[in-house]
């Protein structure tokens, strides 16, 4: 008995010190787990790690017909080209503006919606409203942009009909063909689709606030509006801060779908994002190296921003993402 205890403690010690032989021996003992993990490792390696090798294209003048060894290496020339290209600087601007609008305006609307929904006392009504509010989140952007295009149509679109009948405008507005309005249309579509979903987490945070706080405030003569400002809003502050920081890390991911689907030649100056740029100037015109460089720029900046955001969240004493 005593000896077996002794050996097992020795085993643990040597495995902790990272003995290679010991690891192999343990792996032999855990071979059924090993057999299960091999396909997973191979799969993830092939589909997530081997494409990283393709990033070498950003430093070449890649021609599809040649082998890797025949490619011409050009160093940072593709990146130089990228940053002197007006179109690229424009898509960076578009990406940042549209994701910032979605982040800030979208969050503000979601919080207001959560605050108002929280004031509904009838639980059944509240639940029905909430469920319906996040239904659009589960529909594809194709469906949503289809609905948006129908509704904003100059030809009997409901929004234009409504504006005309109220006399706000005297001729239909070409919502999808007006560069000045495009960002607002994207933002509006985003708000329609995601407000309900984004408000879920704030409603959960609100329901976590102690009811005693409200009772105490009521005793002191606070009205509902004051309760909202002085108790509910501070109560969801930490949720707000952490979500803001995390989403700032993803700011270059303005998406692709909605801009691609709603965009057209007239508004392309304001509608194209980095992802559309990669697609349009990469795959469509065989400029593979140039587009890879653009995609790589986006990935590298995103990783840096996410790491910083994660660090900031940790500093603020919030739960880290990784």
């Amino acid at each position: 008995m005593a000896t077996s205890n002794h050996t097992s403690s020795v085993v643990r010690k040597s495995s902790a010190s990272g003995g290679f032989k010991e690891t192999i021996r343990l792996l032999g003992k855990q071979r059924s787990l090993l057999f299960m993990s091999i396909p997973v490792i191979v799969y993830v390696f092939i589909f997530n790690y081997t494409p990283l090798w393709g990033l070498t294209m950003a430093f070449q003048n890649f021609k599809p017909g040649k082998t890797f060894w025949q490619q011409e290496w050009v160093g940072l020339k593709q990146f130089e080209r990228l940053f002197t290209d007006q179109r690229f600087l424009r898509v960076i601007r578009n990406t940042i503006v549209m994701s910032s609008m979605n982040l800030f305006i979208g969050t503000a609307v979601a919080i207001i919606f959560a605050l108002l929904l929280n004031e509904i006392k009838h639980t059944g009504y509240k639940r029905v409203v909430q469920s319906i509010s996040y239904l659009p989140h589960f529909l594809s952007w194709i469906i949503v942009t289809g609905l948006v295009a129908n509704f904003l149509s100059t030809d009997d679109g409901i929004v234009n009909n409504f504006l005309l009948s109220l006399g706000i405008v005297d001729k239909p507005i070409l919502f999808l063909g007006e560069p000045k309005l495009f960002w607002w249309v994207v933002n509006g579509a985003h708000i329609w689709k995601e407000t309900g979903w984004n408000s879920i987490i704030y409603l959960a945070a609100i329901s976590g606030i102690s009811p005693e706080l409200y009772e105490a405030a009521y005793m002191d003569g606070a009205n509902r509006f004051q309760n909202m400002i002085y108790i509910t809003l501070p109560g969801i502050k930490s949720t707000f801060v952490i979500l803001m920081i995390m989403n700032l890390g993803f700011i270059l991911n303005a998406g692709f779908e909605v801009q691609y689907l709603l965009g057209n030649g007239i508004v392309s100056d304001v509608s194209e994002t980095i992802d559309i740029f990669v697609l349009k100037y990469g795959i469509a015109s065989n400029n593979f190296s140039f587009a890879t460089a653009a995609g790589m720029f986006k990935s590298v900046v995103s990783i840096i921003m996410i790491t910083v955001a994660n660090f900031a969240a940790g500093k603020l004493g919030e739960e880290k993402l990784f």
């Binding site: 787990l33 790690y49 393709g54 319906i132 594809s140 609905l147 129908n150 879920i200 880290k320």
Partner: protein
């Protein structure tokens, strides 16, 4: 006295606020649902009549013709079955593989556990981008191949981490006692872990199913030159871009043969919109709690 008056005023204000708030929420519901209702109306209304406009709440010339055309158009029927089959296959495979990976990562004694966790979590943040991905798929022969819908999406890193968190909360003694009884790891996974994980697996299955059903980008990039591989969403996308410019143009290709009836892109699109969103909208009231449950399963930690 002053205070009582204050409270009374407060109550009046509070009541007005309540009424306004209830009304506001009603408008929210209307804004969320009306676009669908209007689309349903258009999809059931005669296409030529719809061109006249002014359709609000009820079809003026009710007809099933739009749907009939939809289900008689070869391309659309094919696309429908591609969408259905890939959704079913991907959901089953992704849930199974993600659960298996999660089980491996949850075995605390496993030597490769730390390495594998980092190996999988890193994929959520590191991404080579579209073009390297395209060349990989090409060298694997996945371009214009049905398998491009299946193989690249068999495992989701985020799903793995959500399931793993759930397994961690299960009592460890269950797996332990099965082990003492001589069950192998794979059997423990199949017979004990999977049944216990049903709630989280249901949520993941819904996420994956919705995501796969809604996907069009994969068709667009990797399979667009093969009509047989088109999906319902992709067919919709093509109609959307063709009709965005000229909303009411009549497309001669969509004229059903042997009939004088005419169909417009707008009407057929309304019908496809309803068919493409029906599975989600119809199942939504019943599965709603699983749709959002994942948010509460919550904290994914690396």
């Amino acid at each position: 006295m002053a205070k009582a008056k204050d409270i009374k005023q407060n109550n009046v204000a509070s009541n007005i606020f309540d009424i306004a708030n209830y009304f506001f929420m009603f408008i929210v519901v209307f804004v969320m649902l009306y676009p669908f209702w209007n689309t349903i109306v258009i999809s059931f209304n005669d296409a030529m009549d719809s061109i006249k406009g002014g359709l609000w709440f009820w079809p003026r010339k009710p007809t099933f013709f739009n749907y009939k055309t939809l289900f008689q158009t070869r391309n659309l029927i094919d696309a429908f079955w591609v969408s259905v089959s890939k959704t079913v296959i991907v959901t089953v495979l992704n849930v199974f593989c993600s659960a298996m990976a999660a089980y491996i990562l949850s075995r605390k004694e496993f030597v490769l556990r730390n390495f594998m966790t980092k190996f999988i979590v890193a994929t959520m943040y590191v991404n080579a981008g579209l073009i390297p991905q395209y060349f990989l798929y090409r060298s694997l022969g996945l371009i214009n191949n049905y398998l491009v819908y299946i193989i690249p999406v068999m495992l989701g890193a985020f799903n793995v981490m959500v399931i793993r968190t759930f397994i961690h909360e299960l009592p460890e003694s269950l797996a332990e006692s099965a082990k003492i009884d001589g069950a192998g790891e794979f059997r423990i996974f199949i017979q004990i872990i999977i049944p216990l994980c049903k709630p989280v697996l249901a949520t993941i299955a819904l996420w994956v199913a919705v995501g796969t059903w809604n996907a069009w980008f994969d068709t667009f990039i990797f399979a667009s030159s093969k009509q047989k591989l088109s999906t319902l969403q992709y067919e919709m996308m093509k109609l959307l871009s063709s009709s965005m410019v000229q909303t009411r143009a009549v497309d001669p290709n969509l004229k059903a043969h042997g009939s004088s009836n005419i169909i417009t892109p707008n009407s057929i699109r309304a019908a496809i919109t309803i068919v493409a969103s029906a599975p989600i909208i119809v199942s939504y009231p019943f599965l709603q709690k699983y749709f959002v449950q994942g948010l509460h399963l919550g904290g994914v930690k690396g």
